[in-house]
Symmetry: C2
Subunit: 192 residues, 2 copies
């Protein structure tokens, strides 16, 4: 997605060899008009697959998921929770995921009633790094008997291997911008 690559180059900040900050438009401050372009692109990439649900994880995935839903006839969005609120009183699916940026392990949970056999699920997130969250979301959906149609991240950090991990699970991965490397503040995109 050319406009996304341009936005990353214009507004993103590469730190060291691992961290890309895009908090001006994606995951702290959010550019809602641009988010809708992102949603439309995700819908285009997975058109015609009979997707009836979008699954993501709190917090930064939520805006991406809502934008994609809007471009897909408003299919329901479900976000996995990282902590069990006292309102989660019934059965739920759970899976563990480490956070790359926070150094913590979370248990992701989705209430059983919101993932069903027969669901055709698209998983979306803001970043695809090592794939921890993505693998956990796949596991949640498959435990529910749902079909995972694909995975779409806004930004993939290719060298961290998450896309390979998901593809090994048989998941079709399409990221909107794929970054091959970050070095001395320089961002290099992969051909994708």
């Amino acid at each position: 997605m050319k406009s996304l690559e341009e936005k990353i180059l214009c507004e993103g900040r590469a730190i060291g060899t691992e961290i890309l900050k895009v908090d001006s438009f994606l995951n702290h401050q959010m550019d809602v008009r641009f988010m809708d372009e992102i949603g439309a692109e995700i819908a285009r990439l997975f058109a015609g697959r009979g997707i009836n649900k979008i699954l993501t994880v709190e917090a930064s995935g939520i805006a991406v998921a809502c934008a994609a839903s809007r471009a897909m006839d408003c299919v329901p969005v479900v976000f996995a929770k990282k902590a069990a609120p006292n309102t989660m009183t019934e059965g739920f699916y759970s899976a563990e995921a480490r956070s790359f940026t926070k150094g913590t392990v979370s248990v992701l949970r989705v209430a059983e009633k919101y993932l069903k056999p027969g669901d055709r699920v698209l998983i979306v997130d803001d970043f695809l790094a090592s794939g921890e969250a993505g693998v956990a979301l796949v596991s949640l959906a498959r435990n529910a008997g749902a079909e995972v149609v694909g995975f779409s991240a806004v930004i993939e950090k290719k060298w961290q291997g998450g896309a390979d991990r998901l593809r090994e699970l048989g998941i079709e991965v399409k990221s909107l911008a794929v970054i091959a490397a970050i070095n001395d503040g320089k961002i290099t995109f992969a051909d994708n």
Copy 2:
């Protein structure tokens, strides 16, 4: 907002005297088409106030904030974070807030560069209960020298006092549905 009250009565579940579950459309599974109606109503309630930024807190506030932004010419959304990621490397404002549903205390943080003197900020959230998160967000915005134009929650639990706390701080509060009481599974709306 009549359609919201109907949706709460139809899909919501009252538990005991304190908890209202609306996870089928607002804060676990999300109905994006209805979320846009919510956003349009928030925009209508605060029309003409020169709002140039919407502030919320992760996670459930994000979809509400994005929907409101969409109805307000896509003003930027900023969501406060409950944990400091390793990408938050620069100065930030912070304020403590207890969570009613999780029984935890979080430090809410917003990077300094995304709240500025001169900003006219609307704060939104999915729920207004005791007002802990709202008061913390007001404090963040005022520490930045921004003007808090108002606060809008999708659902207010009136008896928990959050609206009163915010009004004591001089904040205009407009919730889309105000619940007076929950008893034996029965939801009673306040006249608002």
